[in-house]
Amino acid sequence: MLNRRQLLGAAGAAGLGLAASACGTTSTTSGSKTPAKANSSAELKGTINLLTPEFAGAEGKAALEGKVLKGFTDKHPGVKFQVDYTPWDKLNEKLSTQIAGGSPSDVIMFGMGWTQPFAHKKIVAEIDKSAIGADDVVPNLLENASYNGKLYSVPMHLESRPFIYRKDLLGKAGIGEDAMNVETVDQFTSLLKEIKAKTGKTPLDMLASSLRQAWGQMIFAFGGTQFAPDGMSITFDQEPGVKALQWLVDLQKEGLSDFNQRVATGQPGAYQTGKAMIGWQSSGVWPTFAKQAPDLLKDENLGIMLCPGTSADKKVIYQGGTLAALSTRSKNPEAAIAVIEYMMSDYGLTEQVRFTGKVPARKLPPDPELDANKLAAFSSENLKYSVTDGGTPAWMEIRGKMDPVMEAAILGKKSVSDTIAELKKLAEDAIGRVK
């Protein structure tokens, strides 16, 4: 006779197609006591399912399968790839439906801040750092790829977000390069006001981006953090978090940045169309700008700067990124980990960032094409200033709910203190559920 737990399990399977995961898939890595590492001498074969939010479209497919992965299949002809291209905004539900269906991909590529939740839920397996070429990855990036001191994913390419500015238009308005060399947030705010007064245009295109990420960066700029180091309590309700949110709210109130300049995915934003003088842009826009608006990338038009902090030595740069992880339910973990190792190789990583335009997570041999991406080069030089949001196992539950709450503050519908209180409640509720 079924007990209550079994009955509930059966109901879950019936309702959500978990039957396959419960019966059909043998977990090959979740029970392993040792971190997964590649065995280069083994003859690899089988199919590797790869889930990636990068390499969208026909060009992306050609880059990934025709170049990046081809080097691997040339070496291991017995391995075939089944690639699932899922855009970032659908990646979370793709993962959950894969898990519910009992067939998560062998290699999962996801974003910064996702490692801890997935490691906590035992969706991704621990990885041997030395075996996958991650030794020379910047330490703070490896921290973001770790949970409870163990590595669960490998940072591959980073989506750094420096401030970029229209040197040409600002110059015409009488704002020279020297004026852009600000050291603190206060000086930066004064600069934005000056730009508004002299150009009549929106000084900063930041609120049209993800508010969660903007706040995440500014908390660090104001000298704070979002969560305690163990990720089990919040710290964003402290003074830096409040100041950071107030700063964003004031940007909107004073017309220094405009939430209403938000555009649909794929449409050119306010910076690209010349409506905003400073953009908070991903290093990954380089290839897009190179095609759509190459003039913006010319030396005489493009300036790049870090986000100032509370003092000259507290500058920050937001770091998103793409990490690769090994599924605990992979049927072919040896080949899967070999794929991750290969993707971190000079050739594998170079070919990836050549297409994505992002910053490689470790130093690569000089490459004229990659070196031409000034945003990536700038970000690469400033990786030590990297900050990112997240850092709690409950992040996947929290992150999706933050933007609507923050939008209310930016639009003046809710006070900063009420917004922080609501964010605190939803974060603590979510953390309470993973404890």
Binding site: R4, R5, L7, L8, G9, A11, G12, A14, G15, L16, L18, N92, E93, S96, T97, I99, A100, K121, K122, I123, F259, N260, Q261, R262, V263, A264, Q267, K275, M396, E397, G400, K401, D403, P404, V405, E407, A408, L411, K413, K414, A430, R433
Partner: protein
């Protein structure tokens, strides 16, 4: 010619007739059996599973854990969920009557044998068969928050400054309702058109003899004769509105500041962004109850197909 029908005395059905009735009943059951089994397996099963899951904490990865009525008590205190329900009700209260009225007027107009009416019917029905993602893309362009968006170009003609349709929390929901009205007219019009074909012309001829005006004929003949169709359109439109998801997902993501979020979007967020399947199914069960109540009220108000 006259026909005489002699009713058989009650309880005096012949054995042959009784056998025929039994056979008819049996065939009736046999023919409905596939649909019945299908419904039982693919509708009844998931509904029961959802109800069971709604009393659990289930994160997809680990087995569900019974948590009593925690999900339901959380829903009671979930402001965003009730806000989403309110948005659904607003969409129904405003969008459904407007779209039904426009659809009825168009159906009557396109039932007059006008030149090119087939072309108009096709054009009006087109949004219904177009993928909602494509529709959302078109309306994103119409609602583009700058002078280049078609909506703002139109406003410019009458001297109104460009509006931030989808990022202004006061405008976003009306903007979404406009799209649902536009998208929903086609199917409603088609149903009304089909129903209009069934209205006897003799009724209109008799009204003509009595000297009734066009409006009186519309009010006293067309509208009452379309009552079953109206009930069907009303109930399916209400349910359709409560199921709106893809439009919200592609147009606004429920924003800004939850100004356009609806229940199905909240269910999606809970299930696929937060991995809280137990909570999401509890929300689904509440949605089911809301729909049952609204359908019963609609039946009471419109009268349904009783006696038809």
């Amino acid at each position: 010619m006259t026909a005489t029908v002699t009713a058989a005395p009650a309880g005096a059905t012949s054995p042959r007739r009784r056998s025929s009735q039994r056979s008819e009943k049996l065939w009736g059951w046999l023919l409905t059996l596939p649909a019945f089994v299908h419904t039982l397996l693919w509708v009844g099963g998931p509904v029961i599973a959802a109800i069971v899951l709604s009393f659990t904490d289930f994160d997809v990865v680990n087995p569900p854990v019974f948590n009593g009525g925690v999900n339901y008590s959380e829903i009671m205190g979930d402001d965003v969920f009730w806000r989403a329900l309110w948005h659904n009700l607003i969409m129904v209260a405003i969008g459904v009557p407007i779209s039904m009225f426009i659809a009825l007027v168009l159906a009557v107009a396109l039932n007059q044998g006008l030149k090119g009416q087939s072309w108009f019917r096709t054009m009006i029905f087109m949004p219904h068969v177009t993928a909602t993602v494509a529709i959302a893309m078109i309306w994103l362009w119409i609602y583009a928050p700058n002078a280049g968006g078609l909506g703002n170009v139109m406003l410019g003609f009458v001297g109104i400054t460009p509006q931030s349709w989808l990022t202004n929390s006061n405008l976003a929901l009306p903007a979404v309702i406009i799209v649902t009205i536009w998208q929903g007219i086609g199917l409603k019009m088609l149903i009304y058109l089909a129903a209009l074909q069934g209205v006897s012309q003799e009724l209109y001829e008799a009204a003509d003899v009595d000297g009734a005006s066009t409006i009186k004929k519309f009010v006293h003949i067309t509208v009452p004769m379309l009552r079953p169709a109206t009930f069907f359109v009303l109930v399916t439109s209400i349910i359709g509105n409560f199921q709106t998801f893809d439009l919200i997902f592609n147009l606004t993501n429920g924003g800004p500041a939850n100004a356009t979020t609806v229940i199905t979007y909240q269910i999606y967020v809970a299930a696929f962004q937060q991995f809280r399947m137990g909570y999401a199914t509890a929300q689904s069960v509440v949605l089911l109850l809301v729909l049952i109540v609204i359908t019963l009220i609609s039946r009471k108000v419109v009268g349904g197909t009783d006696g038809d």
